[in-house]
Point group: C2
DNA sequence: AAAATAATGTCAATTCATTGACATTCCCTT
DNA sequence: AAGGGAATGTCAATGAATTGACATTATTTT
């Protein structure tokens, strides 16, 4: 594998390739050309080939790509070939929804615990997992090899909690709090700022109505 | 206001500006230069000025930007100066969490109804709003001037439901279903693909560990 | 009131991302 | 086994986004 850095623009497209390839695989389709994939996904065939080539290229000239192989390889690139232990910080509406959702388990994301600062919730169970006090968080991360913390707490608390998680050796933070976290370079943060997303939507609605 | 199209790269940054300016405003700060904002937000001052100038420029040379004014203007650009009526389709974990969350009300997003196809849920209340059957959806959209539909249903159903919403005259869809929707150009779609986001996180974790 | 200062708005330069073109390679058929 | 066809991998060209530089203009100070 190549060592030069891949642009986030490319990374951002990988999950979508992965999804379409998964669907093709499920449909029993064994091979596909960049042109066919281009038609389905509505991106240029050139971009598809360019993107895959960032990782060395997975195709065979004159033939195309083997769907299953390509699917597996992209999965590996995305780090889905191994499982990830995750905890959820904040047992509010969103935290509980994510805990209960967990279609993610299929992809190797193992829900290991959920924490909240509200004593009234301690011991209450979510998917046979009792809600734990925040004080136990660092210990839990260390003892259970937790990779990923999902932050579904108010922004006023998120920065401090993130610091504690970093201290405890977390590798990645999936941040739903509406604040930018400042972490060292060896900890990855992926933000899901729902209200930002909603604002983009209203911008596009307004902008369309005010005539383009 | 200018008529040429603004790039989505710029639009994507506006909510973040809006958030920081809101915080500055709450702190009672009245004016700020692009350089100061640059230090806080960790983007180049040049980009800040360039971004604002897409909309004509809101500053005063030699002085900087008036925080409150800039905040208001960006709010307008984002379409937050008027309210939006929204409904949630799918009363599962995520749908209910979003209905209950609704910090969004502060920004003028008015939660008007929630729908589900499961009869067992009909009449059950979420924030004093009873869950309605899917059959009533189109009528409800038309009669209540609904702008935005939030899709929190399985991907297998999302495409068909989106078509029905379009038919009923929806303006925007906030899509949490893990599928790409195909809608006419006068309907805006904003996707929130949570699993894609999580995969980006694991990519970055793996990629860091495999050494850059 | 005039000069000095400060910071915008804007243009040009650079960097990054996407698209297009095609030579190369591999598969498949005869 | 050899040749034709098909589609990749890759290079070059284009286009978009970001950064840098500075002239201009407003504010502030003397």
């Amino acid at each position: 594998m190549d060592n030069r850095e891949i642009s986030q623009a490319v990374i951002g497209r990988l999950p979508r390739y992965f999804r379409y390839l998964g669907e093709l695989k499920d449909e029993g389709i064994e091979r596909i050309s960049s042109q066919e994939l281009s038609d389905i996904m509505k991106v240029t065939a050139s971009q598809i080939r360019q993107d895959f080539n960032n990782f060395g290229g997975f195709g065979q000239q004159g033939y195309g790509y083997k769907v299953e192989y390509l699917y597996e390889e992209i999965g590996k690139i995305l780090g889905l070939n191994r499982s990830h232990n995750l905890i959820i910080i904040g047992a509010g509406n969103l935290g509980q929804a994510l805990a209960n959702y967990m279609n993610f388990e299929r992809r190797g994301f193992l829900f290991k615990g959920i924490f909240d600062k509200n004593p009234a919730l301690y011991g209450r169970k979510i998917r046979s997992m009792e809600i734990r006090p925040m004080e136990e968080m660092e210990d839990f991360v260390r003892k259970n090899g937790i990779d990923i913390a999902v932050l579904t707490i108010p922004k006023t608390e998120a920065v401090a909690v993130a610091e504690r998680l970093v201290e405890a050796g977390i590798r990645g933070i999936w941040n739903f709090a509406h604040v930018d976290l400042n972490v060292p370079r060896d900890v990855q943060v992926e933000n899901v700022h729902l209200s930002d997303s909603l604002m983009k939507l209203t911008y596009n609605i307004s902008s369309f109505e005010n005539g383009i």
